[in-house]
Amino acid sequence: MAGKVRPVQQWPSPWPYDFPVAGAATEAKDKVDRLAVKDPAPPLPVTRRAVFASTIVGWGAFATAGGLGTLGTVRFLFPNVNFEPPQEFQTAPKTTFGAEAVDESWKESHGVWMVNTEGKLLAISTVCTHLGCTPNWLTGEKKFKCPCHGSGYYINGVNFEGPTPRPLERFRVYEDPITGNVVVDKNVKCQPEQGTCEGPDYFLPTA
């Protein structure tokens, strides 16, 4: 293929760096002349104080709006309604809990074992005090055993093997005077190793 080959455009390219600028300034000057204010108005009487006050009001409003918006956004992350079971719930009448037995009826739904041992009815948390898994009650071996890391607890929730550093936590229990059921209140908990479970709030005598 003979004939003319289009020259390859080498640097500097015509775009956008070296467009012809001749005439542009003239045009701009015309525009300036056309738009020039012929009879300028007298300057507004703006005082130093007014500028200062409006700055404070302006930035203050801006900061307030921003701050409230940020707080609202943080609050947005905390749901008002969740679909978890209530923290305080009815179980069954005290006499239905057999001696030296663990009732797992409220394990899945509410995270509580109802344990009747040594003449006391206890509401024991199903959260392992090692790292928060749920142990299993092994009837034959008479112990709670955590599948995650092997922590073991006696029937009364006191730890005896594995990595856990302390006993299972317990919740407040009381008898509802109307229904006669034992009520568990998970809002109030106690920790046996700190001696906070001694009070009458944390067990019901069954003997």
């Binding site: 775009w15 749901p79 969740n82 679909f83 978890e84 995650c148």
Partner: protein, 259 residues
């Protein structure tokens, strides 16, 4: 012949509208290649040949970025099938393995995530051993530490999505750390300073763990929250910081020379 075609193409308006410089045959045009491209301009125009030796960099930063791209592409593909609700999350994961064509897509995503954690650590190790964190590159080390944390958070949030026993209990155990956060964790130190008489303002129902899980324990709301964090929030943060990270490599004098 080939030259004429290429010369013709380079002369067209379409070509010139995309590439504002000539072919990279001169030093100036080579520099222009880097400067006129939004992706390449993050990189240094020049690098020491000693600095880009594989035995010096191990290419660990580049491999980490490559793995991030793999994760982004496979992750978007997985999103076409996965629904982050308790009723279908686990079965969708099973379907991705058993029913969906190319059932290793999820495994690529998973192995890529493991590899990315490894390459990030090795990159950090290389940068430390070559002294590349020293002035003027201290700020970029800081950015890199945040990117390391984001990489670990990506792995952690993705951990929950299969919604099996391992996922739920691993995230239960992991988020229990948030209970012990000072002041805003309900079992942490100084938790009591936000207490008025008998009214405790930091409880299991409003502390930082509650915000993270959207509940007192790992539930369906947690699954959705971790899904959004995994697919949107953390990747966007990582992408912004990666751009800063690469750009600062250039601004801080390119890849460091051997000691």
């Amino acid at each position: 012949m080939l030259k004429k075609v290429s010369d013709y193409l380079r002369g067209t308006q379409v070509w010139k509208s995309i590439f504002r410089h000539g072919p990279p045959t001169t030093a100036r045009n080579r520099a222009m290649v880097m400067l006129a491209n939004v992706f390449l301009h993050l990189h240094p125009v020049r690098a020491r040949s000693s600095g880009i030796r594989l035995s010096f960099t191990w290419c660990m930063g580049g491999l980490t970025f490559f793995l991030f791209l793999v994760e982004a592409v496979t992750g978007i593909l997985l999103m076409f099938y996965y629904r982050p609700v308790a009723a279908s999350a686990y079965t969708d994961i099973m379907a991705l393995r058993e029913d969906v064509p190319l059932g290793i897509m999820r495994e690529i995503h998973r192995w890529g995530a493991h590899l990315m954690v490894i390459t990030v650590w090795l990159h950090m190790f290389r940068v430390f051993m070559t002294g590349s964190y020293k002035p003027p590159r201290e700020f970029n080390w800081g950015i890199g530490v945040v990117l390391l944390v984001l990489t670990l958070l990506l792995s952690f949030t993705g951990y929950l999505l299969p919604w099996d026993q391992l996922a739920i209990w691993a995230v239960t155990v992991g988020t229990n750390m948030a209970r012990a956060h000072p002041v805003i964790g309900h079992e942490g130190p100084l938790e009591g300073i936000l207490k008025f008489e008998d009214v405790d303002f930091v409880t299991s129902g409003n502390d930082i763990r509650y915000a993270l899980l959207a509940g007192r324990f790992v539930g369906e709301a947690t699954l959705l929250r971790f899904y959004v964090l995994h697919c949107i929030a953390v990747p966007v943060m990582a992408m912004v910081l990666m751009a800063v990270h690469f750009w600062r490599v250039r601004k801080d004098g390119g890849i460091s020379g051997p000691l």
